[in-house]
Amino acid sequence: MSGGSSQVHVRVTDEPLSLEALSRAVGRPGAGAIVCFEGTTRDVERLEYEAYGEMARERIAAILHSCVERHGLEAAAAEHRVGGVPLGEASVIVAVSAAHRAEAFAGAREAIDAIKAQAPIWKREVEGASGEWVVGSLPTRPEPA
């Protein structure tokens, strides 16, 4: 889903994520800076992610649109993996581009923080045959526009 704008790209998928592809997706002639964030499985055999897919896509697209507007980004993209994500592999990637690095860093930071706080996505830590839902926080509401 493109989020209705060529500036924003969102995908929720059970396939492995590609940092290179997402970085290329936000490249623009006016972009002098691209910042990418990759969140990876650590300390556990694998994580299993479950998403309310349609809502997650809509929320993430709204977050990226807000970041583009607030930080003057050229483009913003995010992909979240669902299903099993083995140790060391990426569960979420955010990439943003901007004319200069200050707004790119700020926009990427705001995007990943908001995605983690607002997107309806859950994870289970799995070791061998046993798994446990990670206790998180109730989602925060988006800030008024």
Binding site: E50, Y52, W133, S137, T140
Partner: protein, 84 residues
């Protein structure tokens, strides 16, 4: 009659990914939450897991009114909440 989507720990405890809810109209999100808390498959888990409700894929307050055909979902705590 509305259908409520269930996810993660709620889906697991209820043993299904959606359940049907009978509500007297007019009904609000708060009415739906109260009815769900009395539901056999969910009462035990809802007593200890806090939830918010989403209506048509937006987080909704308790006083939001519900209409025929609304898409309801129970959202337990999401896993990425902290900024660590």
């Amino acid at each position: 009659m509305v259908s409520v989507k269930l996810f993660a720990v709620l889906r697991e405890r209820a043993g299904r990914d959606a359940l049907a809810l009978d509500l007297d109209e007019p009904a609000t999100v708060g009415d739906a939450l109260a009815a769900l808390a009395r539901h056999d498959g969910l009462a035990e888990v809802l007593a200890r897991v806090p939830v918010v409700m989403a209506v048509n894929r937006d987080y909704a307050d308790d006083d939001r009114s519900l209409h025929e055909g609304d898409e309801l979902a129970l959202i337990p705590p999401v896993s990425g909440g902290s900024a660590r």
